[in-house]
Subunit: 329 residues, 2 copies
């Protein structure tokens, strides 16, 4: 029961809005397919924005909402599945983008693809509870648009770009904010069901055998859902047993916006109402690890969650991993 509190959030969406029609036209698929199948009417794609730029803007907003300045941060944790450069990592580039180039603020990254934010929040809560840090920014910033395969409907109509930042600090004596339960499981039988095959050492960009398509997303949605729904019942049971209350008592479930079908199956299986289940896939697409903290930001802005509420973050990630975290806001 790590006593940490989310004290500010921020979000950045790229300037360019891309309607599904534009993608459908480019791909030569029927109008309305994206919304019907992927659940996405529009998403944002970067023009000149980088992961660092988007992350920095989201963090500025989070600092403002928390009424803090950069110097109040004890660490910046990058928590993304995509990146600007293979080397170095995201969070140091976010520090640089903020102009705090000689601040010394420790920066390091956590990666569990789409679950990176959830993993980071969980890990950071231990570091705060133990007194290593007091105030930490977790920044997730994702660009999927440069790696879309316009021959693959399933992913090309689904993915979007965006960033979110969440500032966490130790709860004060009279604050009830805390993490109640968290868990993660990785089943690598699904490791290559979501993959960008080329770009690393397996298939280097300079490998003469590589093709442009190798540097793009590939997803096997049906197989992912198969493993997810094989494992989720037991995962939920364990997670809510730790939390000590039934899933129906959750005030707000914020799932990774993995896919329309996945979201619908999860909501139905869990027996949750629309009010209890946060969805923004229609206007944002699946923004890799940024989906959950962006939805968290929106939920706070839209007053769909208030202090004292029981909130659950949940998702699957390339890995294939399942992760969840329940906290009192």
């Amino acid at each position: 029961m790590n006593k940490v509190r989310i004290i500010g959030t921020g979000k950045y969406l790229p300037k360019r809005v891309v309607l599904s029609e534009e993608i459908e036209e480019r791909m030569g698929i029927e109008k309305g397919w994206s919304l019907a199948k992927s659940g996405v009417a529009k998403r944002h794609f970067v023009e000149d924005e980088t992961c660092a730029y988007m992350g920095a803007r989201a963090l500025e907003q989070a600092l403002e909402n928390a009424n803090l300045k950069y110097e109040d941060l004890d660490a910046i944790i990058g928590a993304s599945g995509s990146y600007d450069y293979p080397i170095p990592y995201n969070s140091c580039l976010i520090q640089r983008e903020l102009g705090k180039i000689d601040s010394g603020t420790p920066c390091w990254d956590i990666d569990s693809t789409c679950l990176s934010f959830v993993t980071a929040l969980d890990v950071v809560s231990y570091l705060i509870e133990a007194g290593k840090y007091n105030t930490v920014a977790i920044v997730t910033s994702e660009i999927s648009s440069k790696s879309l395969n316009y021959k693959e409907r399933e992913s090309a109509t689904l993915l979007g770009d965006g960033a979110a930042a969440v500032i966490v600090r130790k709860s004060k004596e009279d604050e009830e904010s805390k993490i109640i339960a968290s868990d993660m499981e990785t089943y690598s039988k699904g490791a290559l069901l979501t993959v960008v095959k080329g770009g690393g050492n397996f298939l280097h960009p300079n490998d003469p055998n590589s093709k442009p398509e190798d540097f793009t997303f590939h997803m096997e949605g049906r197989e992912i859902l198969g493993i997810a729904f094989e494992k989720l019942p037991n995962f939920f049971e364990k997670l809510f047993k730790k939390a000590g209350f039934p899933v129906k008592d959750i005030d707000l479930m914020i799932p990774h916006q993995a896919s329309k079908v996945g979201l619908e199956m999860a909501k139905q299986y869990l027996g949750l109402s629309d009010k209890q289940f946060m969805v923004n896939i229609e206007t944002h697409g699946n923004c890799i690890a940024a989906s959950i903290p962006m939805a968290l930001h929106d939920a706070i802005e839209q007053k769909r969650m208030k202090r004292g509420d029981k909130i659950c973050l949940i998702g699957t990630a390339a890995g294939l991993s399942i992760g969840g975290l329940i906290f009192i806001y």
Copy 2:
């Protein structure tokens, strides 16, 4: 003072040994330059090995040395600066390589480039101290050879490939093993002094403006040393103040094998003897984040450290970050 204990280590070096002569010949530079300037006589380069393959072999050895089986692990933490695939992350691929594809063992990665292992050991110690995990494998597996720029002597003669795994668990009542002090600082004014510019979203592999050279390492050694030695005196002072003893009392310092000049400057500045200062750059090269845990493994195998000894891990990383950790072995 997190009471954790390293109970097993493993190491994997690629089958292919590459003498400096081979690289000097390829680059058309004078024989002996690599050893004289970079400090490297030979290093290993992968043939068919992947990061996951090397990491899995190192982890198998670490499990054997710890007298454990895979099922004893509560988590696998990947801690590398390089990777097989842009998506998914390293540790799930290591689980897959071990054939434990339906085990559910949580896998996630930490990245702070060359400091990834040090950051991971520090973070994991908090998770173990708090009881989240009992036994954790940290696996670092690096391939630099596919990203060498043979027009740049400084990096092409310096870097190598290799992997190491370290298993950590909670110390028993009668064991004195523990982390005494740790710290990290990031100065992003040096963020692009060590860089692989292309391959991510800044310069995507499919970007028509990208050139093969963009997907290779670039280092500005002199500028890196400049920042490192501007910041290290104060960093060391703070770190050893936390530890509560002077640097001369350290039993073994295991530095990142960043470069010959860096190692020599550090040893001299700190006033340490050869016996107190672990160097393997001549036979391994700089293996990104794997250098420190490989040297740790070697130090244990060569009986250069024994239970109760005070050990310091220290290094700089692309970021530019400085990190250090002092523990009782």
